[in-house]
């Protein structure tokens, strides 16, 4: 099995390096093909590992070589394939293979085609390191690696100022969170003496509660950055500057779920500190609602989907925070499939509309883009959580978890959010695909994407439909071998059915309302003047706040530090001391006017001074001595 582990891990790296060799050259199709093929290899290896684990095989654990060893610190490159990581590996390889193949079509006309594939495969490699590592340091390698690739891919079109700005914002915000994570690692090391997962989880029971809380908080700060939780969430929407396949792979399916993965992976820790878990869940519920509300009015197709991702990440954190780790992971998987599908569909639309992002300028596209329409609708249905698609099984489960654990506030928030989700998803679908063909006013000539792109997307569509009912049973059997196997059942069947059907009805109503309202949407000027619209449209003025009160003061302070402090105070002091000597010399050199009389007088004065000092010193000594 080790061979498959290495194959799954390193074939994306190989693909990336091959593509990187041609990075600066004009488009060569084979880079796309080779990287996709190598990813396919990685997918096959992961699948073999999955079946091996499903068949009851023991977790595969290898230690490749030493990374860092000094003092008592020993960090190897160690990799672990167990029930949790194999799930993540499947998600990563499936989505990334689809995205790679899709990108061959999507990036067809881009002159930096090769560079794109180099970075995309490098991302997959980093993500695999992240999920497969057997220690926190290895996780951190992947963590930073995906950050780097995300930076490079958001800023892929580097001639665009906004893209680079978004890339740097993402990188720096993640760095802020990474500091928290680093501190978490330091805490673990100095309390446990090792960064290996198994050593840490064994030691968890013996550690102080306060230490555990600190570790839990700092690790979660790391997770907040990568998973774009409030208040570090602004980068995710801005990250939509990157090419759409990147948004699908990195900013929907995989990288942003790394935070959830971290909490799931560290479940023995969070089991011990339910208060931190409750905070995680509350923040998750808040973000779910908060992000969904911003998606309601936004007029940028990709940003709407990004907010939706944010909101779903909130759901996952609710589950993880409440101790339902397997539920969180299940939603992570289901979400990866339908959200990636949604993004790829949006990519098709963008292509068709020559990179237009405002759904109000589209409408009626279902006639020309039938395949895309079907897939995006499927994805939206799945996202809304309609039975029997994937979203129903995973999202309803989270609602049940909140209910069963008696967190009724969280439950209510999540229920409301579910309605909002359905509303904004179908607002988008209605605006893009239904109603009048408004795009004609803007002179667009939409066309369907290449057929092979649609075929590439179809596995995701299939998974979005069946992942729920087909995989749930075997999935639960598998992951509960390592995750706490709590079952979440509402005890009274009546309550259960009321909840399920009630939720379905509410969601259905939201969908219907969205269709009705936006099928023939005109831009409603009066509505746009309302304060609540403005607040939502401007993302609660949070980016504005960051710019005004953090970025700008930092810039100004930097300038002050340089011009005023460094040059005027620190350096000027040094120069001042030098000038002091120089000036003293300049002033006193008149003493040496060459006149012998003057010199003699100075000589006498000096002698007298020295004599006086000598006398004073002697007297002083004798006085002190008594």
């Amino acid at each position: 099995m080790e061979l498959y582990l290495y194959l799954a891990l390193f074939s994306p790296l190989a693909g990336s390096l091959i593509a990187a060799l041609f990075g600066a050259r004009p488009k060569t199709l084979f880079t796309g093909v080779v990287t996709s093929a190598l990813l396919g290899l990685s997918l096959v290896s992961s699948t073999i590992l999955l079946f091996y684990i499903l068949g009851g095989g023991a977790a595969v654990h290898v230690e490749m070589m030493t990374w860092m060893a000094t003092g008592d610190l020993y960090i190897p490159f160690g990799f672990l394939v167990d029930q949790v990581s194999v799930t993540m590996m499947m998600v990563v390889t499936v989505v990334s293979t689809v995205v790679h193949v899709y990108s061959i079509g999507y990036m067809d006309h881009d002159k930096s085609f090769n560079r794109f594939f180099a970075w995309l495969s490098a991302f997959v490699f980093s993500m695999m390191v992240l999920v497969m590592s057997d220690n926190f340091a290895g996780l951190f390698i992947g963590w930073e690696g995906v950050g780097l690739c995300s930076w490079a891919l958001i800023g892929f079109w580097y001639h665009k100022e906004s893209a680079i700005w978004a890339a740097n914002e993402a990188f720096i915000m993640n760095r802020i969170a990474d500091l928290g994570m680093l501190i978490g690692l330091f805490l673990i090391y100095w309390n446990v003496g090792s960064l290996q997962y198994d050593r840490f989880f064994e030691a968890v029971v013996t550690l102080d509660q306060s230490v555990l809380v600190m570790i839990g908080i700092f690790l979660f700060i790391g997770a907040m950055g990568k998973s774009a939780q409030f208040p570090l969430h602004t980068w995710l929407a801005d990250a939509m500057e990157g090419p759409t396949p990147v948004s699908a792979l990195i900013h929907a399916a995989t990288m942003v779920t790394a935070g959830v993965y971290l909490v799931v992976r560290a479940n023995p820790l969070y089991e011990m500190i339910p208060e931190v878990g409750y905070f995680v869940a509350s923040l998750g519920a808040f973000v779910a609602m908060f992000a969904a509300s911003m998606a309601l009015v936004n007029r940028d197709m990709k940003r709407i989907i990004a907010y939706s991702t944010l909101s779903q990440l909130g759901y996952m954190f609710v589950a993880a925070g409440l101790g339902a780790y397997w539920v969180a992971l299940f939603h992570l998987m289901a979400h990866a499939f339908f959200k990636a599908l949604l993004f790829l569909g949006a990519g098709n639309v963008m292509h068709a509309m020559s990179d237009e992002l405002d759904p109000f300028k589209m409408g009626g596209l279902k006639k020309v883009m039938k395949g895309t329409w079907i897939m995006m609708t499927l994805a939206s249905v799945a996202l809304a959580g309609i039975w029997p698609l994937a979203g129903f099984f995973s999202k309803d489960l989270i609602l049940e978890v909140a209910f069963v654990e008696h967190h009724y506030v969280l439950y209510t928030v999540l229920l409301l959010t579910a309605m909002l989700t359905a509303f904004y998803s179908f607002r988008l679908v209605a605006l893009i695909f239904h109603g009048e063909e408004r795009y004609k006013e803007y002179g667009s000539h939409p066309h369907e994407a290449y057929t092979f792109m649609l075929i590439a997307m179809s596995p995701l569509a299939l998974l979005a439909v069946i992942a729920g009912f087909a995989f749930k049973g075997s999935y639960i059997d598998m992951v509960t071998a390592v995750l706490p196997a709590t079952e979440y059942h509402v005890h009274s069947p009546v309550v259960f059915w009321i909840m399920v059907i009630g939720t379905q009805l509410l969601v259905g109503a939201a969908i219907a309302y969205a269709y009705k309202k936006y099928q023939n949407a005109k831009i409603d000027k009066a509505f746009e003047q309302r304060p609540c619209y403005k607040v939502l449209f401007n993302q609660y003025y949070i980016p504005h706040f960051y710019e005004e009160y953090i970025s700008k003061p930092y810039r100004e302070l930097s300038h002050v530090a340089w011009k005023q402090l460094d040059l005027r105070v620190v350096d000027a002091t040094v120069d001042g001391i030098a000038t002091l000597f120089y000036k003293t010399g300049e002033q006193t050199h008149t003493m040496q006017n060459g006149n012998l009389s003057t010199m003699l007088r100075w000589m006498v004065a000096g002698t007298v001074l020295l004599l006086a000092l000598g006398v004073a010193f002697t007297v002083g000594i004798s006085v002190v001595a008594g």
Partner: protein
């Protein structure tokens, strides 16, 4: 009244003060030499007096030594003075500023 060591030392000090003032105030090079001689001889008186007081001949030896040095100093000094007079036509100190810093 007996003349004690104190009187000698007072004389020495007075002569030294006169010499010092001469050194500081005089601008004529020749007068400067005179003042220097007074300084040296003030010290010599001190040496001789203390030597007598302690009954130790070293002080008097030193006084002779100083006289010898003073003589040679005057010899060299006057030689330089004459050269300087030949070159510049005067021996006023205020004109000698070639060592200006």
């Amino acid at each position: 009244m007996e003349i004690t060591l104190t009187h000698y030392l007072i004389l020495s000090t007075l002569l030294f003060a006169i010499g010092l003032i001469g050194v500081m105030r005089r601008t004529n090079l020749l007068m400067l030499f005179f003042a220097t001689e007074i300084l040296l001889n003030a010290v010599n008186i001190g040496f001789a007096a203390i030597s007598r007081y302690y009954g130790d001949l070293t002080g008097q030896m030193f006084a002779f030594f100083v006289i010898a040095i003073a003589a040679s100093e005057v010899a060299v000094g006057l030689g330089l003075l004459i050269v300087w007079f030949k070159r510049s036509g005067g021996i006023d100190l205020t004109t000698m500023t070639s060592m200006k810093g």
